[in-house]
Subunit: 227 residues, 2 copies
């Protein structure tokens, strides 16, 4: 069976949840049926939103160091359970011969799997992901995003709280923003930052289709491993 490489640690809880979803979504009767995986969990990668929005340190060198580690370990494909890091997708792609499964393509496949064929789609993500238009230019659906005040006042603080292990506090603001996008006409909401599904999982299920980009990426990885 092929070895999967996970470039993670952005954040580390999302990477752990990716490993959990990868395991639970794999059809298996015993350990040996699961997918061999190396997780490179390096939380020291410079903050992606700070780099793009506030002129912070470039994360690409740290991302490429992780890719080198996964190559050396014998991995044959790479997934990155961090949406914002995909803003450096071209730079990473040019740095390796391994395929990198794109998280936005995984989200698009998940929308199809959920039977969502018409937009607009609500999009929640970091300010970096929204500013780089990662979803708007690749998902294949019109995207509705929160107003700037909502983004900075509710979404970004919640993302930070998940990274600080304060998960329970984030359900209320994140669910409020998701419901707001649904009320504005979104047929589904993509949780396009891997911290967001962790917060949304801490409370009651939402009443409309939601794409968990951690689980979506895990399904893409399983499809790759089984192909």
């Amino acid at each position: 069976m092929k070895m999967l490489g996970v470039l993670g640690g952005m954040g580390p809880l999302a990477s752990a949840e990716f490993m959990r979803q990868l395991t639970l979504l794999t059809p298996a009767d015993r350990d040996q049926d699961h997918i061999p995986t190396v997780l490179w969990s390096d939380p020291r990668v410079p903050d992606r939103t700070a780099a793009r929005v506030h002129g912070g340190e470039d994360p690409l060198p740290a991302l490429v160091r992780g890719i080198r580690g996964l190559e050396a370990a014998g991995c044959e494909a790479i997934v990155i359970p961090c949406n914002t890091a995909h803003g450096w997708y071209e730079g990473m792609r040019e740095a390796t011969r391994l395929p990198i499964l794109h998280i936005v393509d995984a989200a698009a496949a998940e929308l199809r799997r959920l039977g969502v064929n018409e937009g607009p789609i609500g999009l929640m993500g970091t300010s970096g992901t929204l500013a780089m238009r990662l979803y708007q230019e690749r998902l294949g659906f019109e995207c509705l995003t929160p107003d700037a005040e909502i983004q900075e006042g509710f979404v970004m603080p919640a993302v930070g709280l998940v990274k600080a292990n304060r998960i329970e506090e984030t359900y209320a603001p994140l669910a409020l923003v998701a419901r707001g996008l649904h009320a504005q006409g979104a047929s589904a909401v993509v949780l396009g930052c891997t911290e967001i599904p962790l917060g949304i999982a801490a409370g009651p299920e939402l009443e409309f289709p939601v794409v968990d980009t951690i689980a979506a990426l895990a399904r893409a990885a399983i499809d790759w491993a089984k192909a």
Copy 2:
């Protein structure tokens, strides 16, 4: 900050849970406060109990391959979130200059943290772990273990069901065995197989001190990283 190596995949869900506990138990305000970690999750390692009890394939070569991968990645210490694999502890220790934090020592520290100073201690584990006397000869407490019929009829099937992602089904038999050990006089019960805390977490909390060896090993790793 030092890089931690996790020799995992035995089983993969226990490794994912180790990464989750490692993250949640680390004091952190942001990604960059968390511990850089490489998880080598290789579920192809030959079954440890089969090797020890039924003359199955020796897992040591696969374990040492994983250690070589973690060394190459730059890790400075190794933890193994699989109790039974510690039956090959000496062989692994001889194969590397890196320290390997022993899971039984982590369980002993957790008993102290919980205020348990007197035995006997109930011990649940795989038939391999019990037969190799990993806990009986290292924990520092008298250990009570289930009868052979209970071990083969309840504990081992539950461990197998966790590896097959059928977690919910395992709470009832595992909790029954733990409560039986407590009724026989155990002051605490060590869940000395990393599949067992996953099953026990699927239902109501037990009424007596319980050592989750996944969380115990995560605490030992955090102590190492912060030292």
